[in-house]
Symmetry: C2
Subunit: 142 residues, 2 copies
DNA sequence: AGTTTAATTGAAATTTAATCTCAATTTCAA
DNA sequence: TTGAAATTGAGATTAAATTTCAATTAAACT
């Protein structure tokens, strides 16, 4: 279970798996998709558990450090995250009109990136490839 | 000249090429590289011209809309821009230690992206590919 | 040249995501 | 049970970016 990974990550740092942290964790892993911290905070609030904004943000950062969650992009109105554990790495297309996010993965692009890193004597650790434009629905309307 | 393009862009909108706008433009096109709005503002201040922060930000947005300048990434401490007119599109590798930015371009990756867009019925307009990791210098030290 | 009109400017206020502060509370191992 | 250490949350703070709005400037039109 993913929660065990989180627990181990925490105890490795002398930190505790508190109710608030569990609440944040559960809300994030309850669905697959992208989310913003503020909406996450509100969802937790709705679910009945009490966890302050400060705790939500703090836990989110811990989850990112643990590798279970990734910050996938920074929009004008803040960061966007997704839980990545158990999901294959992928990149995103974002519709500029309706904000729809389409996920994609290209082995070829991944390999080309590795090649470019080697050529430049650069040790790549992570990357973000975001294509912005118009989704099928919104593209048609112009 | 690039300034003519800007002038035309402005007049097409009924806007004027003022001293402040010229100052922002000149400072940006005086060198090739990446910059943050605040540093740009300070450089203009140093150069003697008077232009408020508000004007710098406003002009920067106009330059982006005109296509002469691009917002290339959003860091924790704000946006990073570069003037792109006359420069071929390229992507970036960013060293997590020293913040060095290495530019690269891959025709193959560009083509693969176009292909993926077609497949997903997505009209790609722009993209950002940022590889994070360790540059040669900083990678050696670990 | 003088008048009208619209755009522009800048100082300060505002917005907003995210972080920080710190006193009170909780946790847990000894 | 006790004490050290971690955690929490309400509110303060930070900082990038935008907005406000009265004063100024530039152009367009008699
Ligand atoms: Mn995704
Ligand atoms: Mn560049
Ligand atoms: Zn759309
Ligand atoms: Zn480096």
């Amino acid at each position: 279970m993913e929660i065990e990974i989180f627990r181990k990550f925490l105890s490795g740092r002398g930190l505790k798996l508190t109710n608030q942290r569990v609440a944040v964790f559960n809300e994030i892993f309850a669905f697959h998709g992208h989310f913003e911290p503020e909406r996450l905070y509100l969802k937790i609030k709705d679910s009945g558990t009490r966890a302050s904004r400060a705790s939500v943000y703090r836990t989110l950062n811990l989850l990112v450090e643990s590798g279970l969650v990734e910050k996938i992009t920074r929009t004008e109105k803040g960061n966007v995250y997704e839980h990545t554990y158990g999901h294959r790495h992928h990149d995103h297309m974002v519709c500029e009109v309706c904000d729809e996010i389409i996920e994609f993965y290209s082995e070829k692009i991944e390999n080309l990136q590795d090649e470019i890193c080697r050529k430049n004597n650069f040790r790549g650790v992570s990357h973000t490839l975001e294509i912005r434009g118009y989704c099928g629905k919104c593209g048609r309307q112009r």
